[in-house]
Structure formats: structure tokens, C-alpha cells
Symmetry: C3
Subunit: 672 residues, 3 copies
């Protein structure tokens, strides 16, 4: 099993045999079809609590044992889930406290999933017992590969128990109310706390404007969730299993800071559902998905698993489109290109009822293998078998973009120049797309991460400083790194309290050679412009006015009363350089600007100096032994063909060639 | 009284003298004005509870007796209402349980109307007593024509009493929890019920994704409402009255399945408020209204009453337009053309206060008869007197369109290719408009209805199968009928559980000669195309991919990766033919396609082969004695003139002619 | 102090030293910077309760004394606030009853500000004690100028105590339930009250359609708020202070009828935050702001204070733009032109944390005076010192527009031809803009005000009659005044009960020489037209049909079935004239129509017959001694230059000239 995890691309998906326990014919057919589809692992038991413990204290694991045995006998491994993602009806009915209380302070009723309190002693005890017993029963089964803890953690609970935990968490953080009052600027609107018991979670009928409180509550929710995940893991360990654990994350999910899961998880995994074919073309969707893979890889800076994806279409968007032929294979292998060691689906077989009955599945209600979707899945399974060599390689970029969840929470809540429309993630994506189009790899790092290994660090809208980020940026630049800063940076400390004096704060004015003076919030329909290198670029949404103190002006505003003031500057600091962009530019600017930097700095794209056609990118996975695997991906509906800088070998068919030809939605793996 | 109901078109409206009991001058003037306006009946007492029982147990029917007497003495009949549509303040204050609990489980306070629990024993007892006493007092009054039970039933109550009734209803339906769990696919997300007490109504803070539960709750709400309506009727019968009963329905009102009222009501009636003059022109509004009349007629497949309509404008839309001269008469007689034996208004006299004080009325605050509105009403009243012959005729179409409320509930909730935008009713209307434009009558039938009497049955988006519909469609087609099926059909059984195997399920694949494979959900701005009979038609929103097994392809997709695959097919089955449309087409297609079928099948339009100008339609009422009454309606603002196939007689003036000339918004009645 | 208030323009702003009590360096620097900025007064203590009474009964006024002393020693006066705008956390925690209950009947939790019950005996007692003690401590301090009671009163409380007060208020108003039932037209939907205890405030889960109840609740909320404000004032008086009091109002704030504050306040003041630079140009924003100043001046028909404004940008709109150079000075002095005797800011120094940390301030986080904003504030301060002469003058127009808050509440709630889109305030503004563009002053008066001093009274959409308005309009017109009436007028009495008989009611048919028959609600995209004086004007939204009885038709509708019917009429009544406009016209019509009237009637614009360029206006303040001060304002980004009718003197530099030259965003003060 270690073998499989390390030496083979996983190909599988969520499998819910507990929905078919009265249908042995179906269970038998599943195994046959899985083999046809080149499936080597399935995720079992994700929402199976009511089948595993149908009444309190009465455990019925026999069916699960039969399923795992039968899969293993047929060469298919099990990713075994803890069932905590949904509690059984009897539990909710007997112990309402396991249900979540929402921000209006009303307790939910039984329903949906992910509807439980992470603090409830009853829920914690029930989960502990279930996980421990599962670990005892299956933790050493040779067919079990990995633990899939719960499912898509998310949301928050506002019950009295959680609020009490929040107060304890604050007490530990701040020590005294005096410190807390100061950090939250509590005298504003007479909000000074004089007793810990006065503190409540933010909410629609209570406090929402004390930004420090709001930010701390978000941090607490992540802390509570990580703690619960760790509790689940410890129960598994208490059951005697030392198998690796993961939990399926959700990409850019807003309400959790996933970097805090790094130490709990052995492997990162995530559920990938791009909105293919819902934009004018698929290039922007491909870029967004690529960036998300990179974010998930950086949870542990290691290969990850794509734990879910749909083999055809989803059923929960407003409009749910089919994938054109080829797109499924491309989208699946895009994950591999960015560091995934798996392609897994939700789900193996369509459920007959309830809300996911029309979600795409490998086997649909028709139930046979002579469908387009089944055929494409089986073909991909075969292809994955030929890509085992990539398992031991990883993506190792020279470029890092700072994306910090706490920074995002703070700047979204801040009440500033554009409320509800600061577009932090879109801004990150605007910078990112320039590198994707060049085939240059990027890590998405947070403020707590080490920056010393990169050549180029981009820090858009670094509003909030934490984790010593200013000092790290200083030494990074002083030691020869190239730093990119922008408007709306260096404004507040880790508690969202404004820096006094010139900003960007904590000495960044010195690094950038300027200070910020004012910032204009533009309406969606307005724009300004700058001319750089002879080209005119639109500037939108946020235009900051800078006063230079050493920086060199590279471009200036063309319009409005601040025409002529600097829009782009550079400052030489130590052995490095710090660029500063005063306004949000259109994508074309980032493309041209970073193209210039990549050339100047000697950053090497995956395909070197080869010019990539629009909609085509290339990625690089490096093996420990130095082998490079280059993946070339065509997200257009056209056949593309272009020459290579030097001849390369097609990893799958062994052919060596000096050009690339890709079918519409084609993808190929090259090596030297 | 039986006489009037059967031999005369009713002309009247809601009359609320209880709002003017301190104004005998007004009550006297009302009678005078009614006579001027050719009013022969009024609906009295609809919200009069606080005047009929001003304090608990103290009944004050004297004023009502005086009103009924006085009307009768002046030749005006009374449609007598039970006042249950709004409870008096004292009752809500003393017995809060009579007020409704909403889906968030909060009980309403006193306010509005239709705000009461259908289960509450107190409310049922009070209603019984009131209705019984009214029946005793007025059930044999010669001036009373008909019972108007309550008013516009709607909504649902989620109180504990209703939820207990829901559990009883489920127990009766399913017998065992095992059967219920299977029907609802409850193991999904561990939702297996182990005790009946665990079951709760769906709601925003509880379960909303178990589709079987959601669907059963909707069925239960209809069942509860019908049961309450029957309770009201039984109280009337207990009071000794055997007069016919009706309740005013609301056309396409979403939350009730009106077909379930068939056995309780003696006559169907409904409230008709088209949005005239709020679209580019009134043709689409006319079509929608025509279709709604047909739906209401098919509640009992018999002539019905148009119980409410506005003599001028309403006051509850965002924008409330005046009717141009003539439009009121046309819109009123359109109802008659579709089977109504009445034109009735809300309301006779404008209230001086509260939310309906600016709703149109025959007599407005000005209070005199020298207004445009009063004049038009009076003229219409005169005209209705000349149309008495139509009372004994009915509309008897050869074409049926399947519109099934349970199917709609299920497909709207289903989470599929386009969520919240399946547009079932609009689709029904797209098919319907083709017949309206040709002057071909249509019944709107549900899956439980008998199909054997039709030549052509159209079953758009027949997602859910119930009431043996598959077998009925099979024998209908086998016996020579022409069946039209479409995408998104035959997917689930009556509990919204997907059919296993090929679909359309239950053997419809054989009838259509194909099976469905995949379905693409298109964005609003996207489209595909097909060419049929040399013309190109847009396809939108839903494009299904079919695999043919016997069907003949009549047209195929032009675009996207499924270009060339079948979009329209026909299959010969038994002595009949089954057409299948794989995608939603633009209206022009239905017009051309059904035009071809009508000609081929020998279905006879009301005016035979006469080509109707755009915006003009013709309807047909057939008397038991074989007389045909053809109504020609002009919904344009232009004068229209066109030749007839054969000379016909104008029913109102006796003239015989071989052409039709209609004023803008004109309508005429022809016979042979 | 009286001296300053009367003889000098105030220049200052909100100052919150309680947020900086641990920073004596900041407090010291504040004084220095204030002097640099020509600040002569600051508003202190607005939300300082937790610093003034950090625990119950423990008062800590020492810091406040030091602040007032220190300011006074430096020539800066204090506007002293009562801190009731936000209660301290300890109070909310110990006495939850001080927190407000919202319309869903849930009590708020501690949070935000303005979140307290105006009825709560505990809150009233705490406020009384606080205000009384503040008055004792500082009421005779020579540095204290004025009391700033609370802050931006608003909202409503639905707690049981407030509802009981509402019932008392109703009992006092109506005497008997019979009278109340009649006034509210309660028999409608059986809503007859039989016990005072049955009456509840309107709300989403209760009654919302009984318009009389809804209107009376709104009146009660104003009454409660005024009562609370008076309670605060009486506490100050009980503390021995006889200084004048104000409270900062909010312009067109919807939920209060500010005219009811007239008797409680000694001076009117308000907070002015125009949305500069968020429209295509600033002219419409300038007009709206001008009108709001006029409305606020008419609270007391006397000079007022602009208590708050931002020195740069706000941070609470969706998009928050910078002011271009000059705009701050123009916007500030626009207030003076309309009658303000001050320019005050929110706030002096930016808070370091919480929701207003990025709201513009004179001193921002940077903390120094070398910013654009500080420079502009200081320059304006200097300029204000030269305008002291205006303090004793006031604006005294010949034109009044009737804007009545109770009328607005009633017509917005009424359910009529266009729901949620009656646009009363926009309509007022359409009439107003015509005068602004001509440089003619306007008062905005309510129905209770005296009309006898005006030449021209405009009464748009005078839906509800109260305060004897019909009689006043009659005598105004009879005595030679010119009256302008419009569609949707004279429909209901003061309880929103429709007049019986012809309308406009109460005899206005006689004054206008017509009665209204019907009204058409147009969609946003529709329009009609009229031709007047050879020009065609669009008519939109509301088109009323009139029957003339003496009036002369001046223009008629061009389109729809009412083409040819009167759209504009005039009637001679007594020595006056009454015009009637049957439909909503485009702005150009008002401009042309009132231009004609102004010329005909001899109303004199501030600059006489001088034609003002587009975007430029002129205002007039008249001193008791007869001196005229004319303010010329340029709201365009262009330099403008135009000749004067006669030479005038520039008040600030003494130069006399016969033309005006204004920089972009320039403003100048002229006198003869």
C-alpha cells in the first residue's frame, strides 16, 4: 500500500456501497466495471455513519469489511473515511447539542451535512469512538491505503460552548483585557470590555464593526476546525493505525486558513470542480484551476491528491455543462502537471435519490459501460498507469506570490476605498496568469512561509503584516531578491490596527523608496491609464498616490487630478530591487512586465524560450534524481503546433521530436 | 337560483357591505348602481368574520340578512362566502394557535389574511360553527346561489400539530420506515430514519436536500388544504345547505396541486389578473391567460366561473397600468370563450383604507357612475345578457398538453442541468402558443387524467412518472394517437427516485425508439441550432444527446461537439407515432411543427383553414345539442379584417357574413 | 462663547481624545495641529461613555476636564456631547433591556451604536444621570459653546415597553377603539380591534397592510425620539446648564420627521456627506446637497451648523473617491451659502482601529501636517475667518416647495400605480433643480408650515392632507399666490383614508378647476409626451387623466389612448393662479416652466437677470441690516467667466468688478 501511494498514480473516486447494501448484483457489477475503468483505489464510508452505527452503540462494520475485502481481492485499494461529515438522524434527535448554532444564534435542525459543533463533548466522544473502532478494525487491513478524515470541513458554530472556547482562546492570546481592548481599539464607540464574559462572537444582531474581533473570530474558527481534525486523527492513532491521514480541502474556500492544517495532515488533498465551458473560452478557467492546484500543493509544499473531480458535469451550479471530448483528460492531467499524484472522482456510481442524483459519476443510472463518460475514464486510467514515474517528482518554482488568507479576511472587512469589491483573489490571479502564459511555475505562499529560496516575490495588496513579514521582505530584497509591492500595502498590524506614521509600514517605505499618501476608489466604469515601455495600460478600481523618497518613476498616471504622479516605480535596496505598482492594472500589463523581469532575471520557463500559443501552457515537475518532466497543455479547441527549443522525448510513447503538436484539449508529457 | 347559474352568464363581483355598515346611504346607492351596471350577482362576506362574530360566541348575522334580502328584492343574487380567509383579531389574540407557523418555525402574529393553521382544532371548531350557522341561516334563502368557500387558499403551516399530521400521512403512505428510507434514498448523507418521530418538515434550518421528503411535504400541504376545504363544505352540509360549493383558485399558483380539489368542489372558479400592457404587446399576455383559463377549466373539465378580475387596474404589481378602451371587454369575454360562465370583479366598491384602497373597482372613491370604468362594465353587462346561450356549451379539444404540478415540483427541486431555471411552465406555454395562434383548443391535463379521448398528446419534460402514465402513453400511442415527448423525460418514479437502466424509463425508450445519454445545460446567452424542413431554429437552455434505436432522425444539432446528433426524431409505434424533441426550441419551431401536425392529422381549428392574423385567435364552445359557438378575439391595437372559410352568423346581432372585422381589442361570437 | 457662536464661522470637527488617553504626545500634537489648521471648536465626547463611566456609578470626568481646559487655553472651544449614542459594554451586559428590539421582535446584542431603547427606564435613568453630571461639571466652563445631544438619532425599538407606549399614544390620539377602527378602516380583512391590548406594532411577521397603523407607528417613532431628545435636554437643564442645544440630523433621513424637533432644538445642525465624483459630473450631487441644506435650514428657518463632513473621502460607500483639489473648499462653503454658520468635520484624527479607521480625517495615520488634505483644511479655515460677516444673515426665499415627510411615508406605503417607485424625493428634486440653475432660493416646507410669506408654492404629489393644508392652499391662492399642483394629490386624509367624492379632495378641485379620473402607472422604459410652448417634453412613470371644470388646458398628452387629454392646465382662483401638472415631466420642462413663472412673477434670482452657465449657481444670504451676500458657485471642472448685471464687490478681497471669473470648483462671495 505504501507502494501504491508512492509508485503509482491513484485513479479512483468516492464509492458509497452503503447506499446499495440490498443490491448484491450492483456491488458485484461495480467491481467488474472498476477493473474495466482501470480504477486502483476508491474512497469508502464518507457519509456512512448510519450504516456503521445504525443505533447508538450498535456498530455494524461487517458490510464494510466485505467491501474492503472484495475490493482488495480485485486489486483495488481503499481510502477509508471517518464518517463525521454527517451525523446519523438518531444522534441529532437524541443530542441536539451536536447540531450547529448559526450566527443568528439559532440552532440548526437535523439536515444536510457538515452541520455539527466542533466543540460539543458528545459529538467529540461519538467521533472518537467511531474513529478508534474503525482504526482497530481496518487500520492494518492490507487493502487500506490512507485515512480520509471527515469531508470538506467548513462553516462555524456559534453555540455557547464554542463561544466559551473563543473567550479562552482570546484569554490565552491577549492575557489581559487591557491588551485586548487596545488591540481591538475598543474605546471606539464605547466598546471597552471590562469582563471577559462580555465578549461575544460577531454576528448580525451584535457586533460586526470591531474589526479586531471579527478577525480573531475567523482565526478562532480555523483553530477550532484544525483542533477537531486533529482530534479525529488522534482517535485513529488511538485505534492503533499509523496510516497517513488527509482531509479533502476546497481550494480557495474562504472561511478557513488551510495553511494551519499543514502539521495535522500527512498528505494534502482537495476537491477540484472547475466551471469548464461557462466562460467565453476555457483559458481563464484553466488559469484559475492551475493557481488553485498550486495553492493546494503549497499546503505542504509536496505532491498532493486530487481527491474529487467530476467525470462529466456537476449538478450544483446554475448551469451545468457537459465536457467536450478530451476536456476530461486534459483537466485531470492538469492536476498531475501541478503536483497531484492522483485523479479521483465524485462519485463512482450515481445515487438514485436526493440532491446529488444527477451529479456526474463514472457509472450513471443507465448502469452500463458503453457510455462516452465511462470510455473516457477508462482511457485516462490506462494513461495514468504510464505516468507512474512522475510520482517521485515535485513542482519547485523560482517565483512566489504572497497569498495570505488572514490578510484577505482583514482587507475584505476593512471599510476602505472600495467595499465588497477589493478583489484580492482576482488580483492574485492577474499576477499569476502572466506566469501561466509563459510556462513559469509559481508557489502561492503565506506570510508565515520562508521566502529565502525564491528569486522573485510578488506581494500584492499586502495590507496586513504578520509573522515578521516586513523583516523577511527586507532581508529577501537586501540579499538580492526582486520584490514587487502594490497599492494598499503595509497598512495594519496583525490585529488590523493601523500603523502610525508613513506607510507601507514597518520600514517598507525605505525598501520601496516612497510613502503612500491617498487612495482613490474608482467606480467599475471608471479608469485611469499609464504608459510604460511605449504601451498604454488601463488602471482600474484603486489608484494610490505616492510621494517618492528615492524610488525611480517608471510610469505615471495619465488622467484625473493626479495625472503625472507615479504609477510604477523601482527602488534599489541592498543587492535587490523593489518595484511598486500604485494602481490595479489590466492583465496585459502583468504579462508584459513579468515577461521583462523573467528575461532579465534569468528565470527559466518550463519550455525555455519557446513562445507558447495563447491558451497553451507548460509545467515542470522535477524528480529527486534531477529528471525534468514537462507537461504541455492545450486549453483551446484548436489544434496547436509549435517548435521546441531543443528536441524532447514524449514520456508516453518514447518518441523524440523537436516540435509539439497538440489536439484540441490535448496534453502531453515530455522529458529530455 | 339554479336557473341563474345554468341559464345566464353571471355578472358581478366581491361586495363588502360590512365595511360600510354605518353608511346606509352608500348601501342604498350600491343597489341602484348595480342595477345600472347589469349586475346579477355579488359575492358577500368574504372577510366579514369580525362583523359576523364580533366577540367570541356572539353572532350578528342581522346585517347580512338585510343585505341578502335587499339584493334579492332588486334581482341580484348572492354568492355567499365563508369568512375563513381571515380570522378576527380577538381570535388570534385569545388563541394564538390559530395563527400559522412558517418554515423557520416561528409563529406569525396577527396580521394580513390566509394566516391560519389548517390543523388547529380551535380554528377548525370555530370555522365549523361559523359555516354551519351561516348555512342554517342562509342556506335556503332564495337569493343565495352558491357557496364561496374561504378565499384563495394558499401557503402552509409548520406548527407541531401540522408536523404530527405529516408524520401520520407518511405512515399511511409508506407503512414502514424501511419503505420510506428506500423511497427517499435516505442512506445518502446518513439520513436513515429510525423512528417516525425523527421526521420533520423541510425547512431552511433543517433538511432541504432529501428530494423525496420535499416532494412529500408539498403533497401533504395540498392534502391538508383540500381536507380543510372539505371540512368547510361538510360544515355547510351539516347546516342543511345543499347548494353547490366552489372556492376561488389562482391559476398557476405554484404551491397547490389544484387537480386534487376536483372531488370537493361542485364548480371550479378562479381569480384572473393578467398583466395587460406590461409587455411589448398584449399577445403573450393573452396566450398566458388563455392557457390559464384552460388549466382552470380542466380542474373539472366543465364550465367554470371567473370569480375575480379587475374592472380597471390592480394595485399590487410593481407597475399598474390602465386598460385601454375595449380591453376590459375583450379580456372579460376571453374567459367566456375558454369556458367561463361568468365575469366577476374584485371589487364592487373601493375600500376607503388599507392595502386595497387603490385596487380597481366598479365604483371608485369618486362614487358616481359617470366614469369610463363604470360605463365599460355596464356595457359589458348588457352584452353578457345576450350570451346566455353559451351557458350550456363547453370547450372540448382534441389536443392535450400534459402539465403536472407534482412533476413541476420535482423537476424544479431536482438539482440538474439548470438549477432554478428549468422553465417548465414557460415550456408548456411555448407548446401551447402554437395552438392558440391557430385557433385550436387545448386541454391541460395531469398524469392522472384519462388521455384516451385525444388525438394529440404533448408531454414536455415529463420528468416524473406517476399514476401509470407510462402505460397510458403506451396504449394511447399504440392505439393510434400521436405523442410528443421531449428532453428531460422519464427520469424518476413518483418518489423522485431515478429509474435504473435506459431512459425515458418504464419502456418509453421503446415508444420513442431511442434512449437518452447526456444532457447539456446551456447558459442563457448560449444556443445551438437545428434545421428542419429547410428552416433553422434556435435551441436553448437544454440540449439532450440521444442514441437512436429505431427512431428516424428528422433534424440534428448544428453546433458544438454534438453537431450531427439527433435533435428531432419520430418513431412509429403500434398504430401511432411518437415524436421526440431533444432540445428546447424557439417558439417559431412549435408553430411550424404543430401546424404541420394539425394539417396532417385533420385536427380542426375553430375557424377551419382560415389563416388568423397575428394576435388574433378563435375559440370553440360546443353545446350538448351540437351547436358550435366560435369566439374570435383580437388582442392587437389594430383593426383586423379577414375572410371566413364559410359564412357564419354573429350571435349577438344575428348578421351573417363571410368575413370578420374586429375593432382594436374587439371580440365577436359566431355560430353557423 | 455666545460671541463665537454668533460672530464667527465655526471651523472644527469631531475630536475623540478618549481613544488616545495613553498617548499624551498625541494629545499635545493635536492642539498644535489644530492651531495650524485654524480650528476654533471641536466636538468632544460623542461616544465616550466607557471613558466617562468605566464602571457603573464610577464617573471619571478628569480627562475630559483636562481636554476642555487645554483646548480653551489654546483658543479652541468645545461642543460638548452627551454620550448616549453608544452605551458602554458593561451596561448592555448588565441591563439587556437597554438594547433595542427589532421589527422581528428579537432583541439585539451588544454591538454597533444607536442600539438602545428610547423607552427603557434604566437607559433613561443612566442618560439623565450622565447628562446632569456633565452639565454640572462643564455647563459653565467658559470653553464650552454648545451641547451636542447624542448622535444621529435613528431607528426604532419594538420592545414590549415601546409597544405599550405606542398603545398609550394611540389611546390619547383616538380616544376610542371605534374611532381607531374607523380611521384605520379596520373591518378590511376582519381587522377590527376590540381591545387596546390587541394592537401591535407593524412588522414582517404581523400586520403590514393596515396603512393607518403603519403610518401611526412611524409618527410614534418620531414622537418617541423627540421625547428622548427632550429628556436629554431636560437632564442638561437639571444640571444647571442653559447653553443652547443641538443634535446632528441627517438630511433626508427617511425614518424621522425632523420638523418635530423644531421646538426641542435651539440650533439645527446636520451631517453632510455628498457622493462627490460618483456621477457623470458633480452638478446633480451639488443640487441634491443644496436642497438638503435648504431642508435642514427650514427645520428652524434659521442659520444652522454643518456639524459633520469629511475633509477628504468617506469609507462607507461602495466606492469612495478622493475629492479633486478645490472641491473640498467649494463643498464646504456651499453649506455657508445655504445658511450654515460652520464647517465641521468627522473627524479630527483617524482612529487606529475599527470600522472608521479609513474614514477621512484632518490628520491621518501618517500624523503630520504636510498632506494635501491638511493643507486644504487649513486654507479653508483661514478663509472662513474672513466670512464672519455672514453669521448674522439668513436665506429668505420667495419660493417654497412642499416636502412633507408624513406625506412621503403614506404615499410610499400606499399600494398604488407604481409600488416602491413613486420617487417622491426625486420629484421634489426635479422641481428644485430648476430654481438652483436660475440662482433662485427655495424653502422646503411641510404641510404644517405657514405659506403666507411666499409668492410661489409648489406642492408635488400632495397625496395626504393634514394640518389644514387645503385651507391654507385655498387662502394662499385666493390672496394672489401662485400654486403648482400635480398628479397623485389630495387623495387621503391624515389617516390615509381616501376622500369620498371628487379629488384632489377638500375643495382643491375648485382651486385647480378639474378633477382626477384615473392614473396610469408606466414602466420605467415607457413614456408619453406633451408639447408646451412649442417644445416637446417626455412624461414618465405616472400619467393622470383629468376632467376639466374651469381650468384652461395648456398642454395635452401626445400618445396612448389618452392622447389629447390635458397634461398641463391653469385655473384662476381669487387673485391667484393654480397650475396643475398631470404627469411627471423630464427636468427640462421644470426648467422652462419655472423660468417662465419666475420672469412673469418678478421673483428675483440672486444675480438678477444674469444667465448662469451650466453647473454654476448663485445663492443669497440677507442680513438684518439689509446687506445682501451673494455666493457664486462653480461645480464644473472648467474655468467659467460671465458678466454681471451690475458691478459687485468681492467680500473677501474687496475688489469691485462687473464680471465673475471662477476657477474649476471655485466659489466667491459678492456684495454690493
Amino acid at each position: 500500500m505504501e507502494t501504491l501511494l508512492n509508485n503509482q498514480m491513484l485513479h479512483g473516486g468516492d464509492y458509497n456501497p452503503d447506499q446499495w447494501l440490498d443490491r448484491p448484483d450492483i456491488l458485484k457489477k461495480d467491481i467488474e466495471l472498476m477493473k474495466q475503468a482501470h480504477i486502483n483505489c476508491v474512497s469508502v464510508g464518507i457519509f456512512a455513519w448510519s450504516s456503521l452505527e445504525p443505533e447508538e452503540g450498535h456498530y455494524t462494520f461487517e458490510w464494510l469489511e466485505r467491501v474492503i475485502d472484495s475490493l482488495y481481492e480485485n486489486g483495488i485499494y481503499t481510502v477509508l473515511a471517518t464518517p463525521s461529515g454527517a451525523r446519523p438522524v438518531w444522534m441529532a434527535h437524541k443530542y441536539p447539542e451536536v447540531l450547529r448554532v448559526d450566527e443568528t444564534l439559532h440552532r440548526n435542525r437535523m439536515g444536510a451535512r457538515h452541520n455539527h459543533c466542533y466543540t460539543s463533548p458528545v459529538y467529540r466522544e461519538k467521533v472518537w469512538e467511531m474513529n478508534r473502532r474503525l482504526a482497530e478494525a481496518f487500520g492494518s487491513h492490507p487493502g487500506v491505503l490512507l485515512w480520509h478524515i471527515s469531508n470538506e470541513y467548513g462553516g462555524a458554530c456559534y453555540c455557547p460552548l464554542c463561544q466559551a472556547e473563543f473567550r479562552s482562546w482570546l484569554k490565552q492570546k491577549y492575557g489581559t483585557l487591557e491588551a485586548l481592548n487596545k488591540a481591538w481599539w475598543a474605546p471606539f464607540w464605547s466598546h471597552t470590555y471590562t469582563d471577559w464574559a462580555q465578549i461575544e462572537a460577531p454576528g448580525p444582531r451584535g457586533e460586526q464593526l470591531l474589526h479586531g474581533l471579527v478577525l480573531d473570530w475567523r482565526r478562532f474558527v480555523t483553530s477550532r476546525t484544525v483542533d477537531f481534525c486533529d482530534w479525529e486523527k488522534q482517535a485513529i492513532r488511538a485505534g492503533g493505525s499509523s496510516l497517513p491521514v488527509t482531509t479533502n480541502l476546497m481550494g480557495f474556500y474562504y472561511d478557513l486558513d488551510y495553511t494551519k492544517f499543514r502539521d495535522v495532515l500527512d498528505i494534502a488533498s482537495w476537491d477540484n470542480y472547475p466551471a469548464w465551458r461557462t466562460e467565453e473560452n476555457d483559458v481563464q478557467t484553466a488559469i484559475h484551476t492551475a493557481m488553485t492546484h498550486d495553492l493546494m500543493r503549497c499546503v505542504k509544499f509536496a505532491p498532493f491528491l486530487m481527491m474529487e473531480s467530476t467525470p462529466s458535469q456537476v449538478n450544483w451550479r446554475d448551469v451545468n455543462r457537459l465536457k467536450a471530448p478530451g476536456l476530461h483528460e486534459l483537466a485531470s492531467l492538469q492536476a498531475v502537471a501541478h503536483g497531484s499524484n492522483s485523479v479521483q472522482y465524485f462519485q463512482w456510481r450515481q445515487s438514485r435519490g436526493a440532491s446529488e442524483k444527477f451529479h456526474g459519476a463514472v457509472v450513471d443510472h443507465y448502469g452500463e459501460s458503453d457510455t462516452r463518460v465511462f470510455g473516457e475514464v477508462a482511457h485516462l486510467g490506462e494513461r495514468l498507469e504510464g505516468l507512474a514515474a512522475l510520482c517521485h517528482s515535485n513542482v519547485k518554482p523560482e517565483v512566489a506570490i504572497l497569498f495570505d488568507r488572514e490578510n484577505e479576511w482583514a482587507l475584505d472587512a476593512a471599510c476602505g476605498p472600495r467595499n465588497g469589491a477589493m478583489h484580492y483573489e482576482q488580483t492574485i490571479e492577474s499576477h499569476y496568469q502572466a506566469f501561466w502564459r509563459m510556462g513559469v511555475g509559481v508557489d502561492l505562499v503565506c506570510e508565515a512561509d520562508d521566502l529565502s529560496g525564491y528569486k522573485l516575490v510578488i506581494a500584492p495588496m499586502l495590507y496586513l503584516h504578520r509573522a515578521g513579514i516586513a523583516a523577511k521582505l527586507r532581508s529577501f530584497t537586501a540579499n538580492g531578491g526582486t520584490l514587487i509591492g502594490t497599492y494598499w500595502s503595509g497598512l495594519v498590524d496583525e490585529n488590523d490596527l493601523c500603523f502610525e506614521g508613513a506607510t507601507p509600514g514597518e520600514g517598507l517605505t525605505e525598501i520601496y523608496g516612497l510613502r503612500t499618501e491617498e487612495i482613490d476608489g474608482l467606480r467599475d466604469e471608471d479608469c485611469n491609464h499609464m504608459i510604460w515601455n511605449g504601451k498604454t495600460y488601463q488602471l482600474r478600481e484603486l489608484c494610490e498616490l505616492e510621494r517618492l523618497s528615492g524610488a525611480e518613476q517608471l510610469a505615471c498616471y495619465s488622467d484625473d487630478f493626479y495625472a503625472g504622479k507615479p504609477a510604477l516605480t523601482v527602488n534599489h535596496f541592498g543587492s535587490g530591487a523593489a518595484y511598486f505598482l500604485a494602481a490595479r492594472a489590466e492583465d496585459a500589463f502583468y504579462h508584459d512586465f513579468y515577461g521583462m523581469l523573467v528575461r532579465q532575471m534569468g528565470i527559466r520557463p518550463a519550455l525555455g524560450s519557446t513562445a507558447l500559443p495563447d491558451g497553451v501552457t507548460a509545467g515542470l515537475r522535477l524528480a529527486a534524481n534531477g529528471t525534468s518532466y514537462v507537461t504541455v497543455q492545450n486549453f483551446t479547441e484548436q489544434l496547436v503546433c509549435f517548435p521546441l527549443e531543443e528536441p524532447m522525448k514524449n514520456l508516453e510513447n518514447g518518441c523524440i521530436g523537436d516540435s509539439v503538436t497538440l489536439q484540441p484539449y490535448g496534453i502531453m508529457f515530455l522529458t529530455k
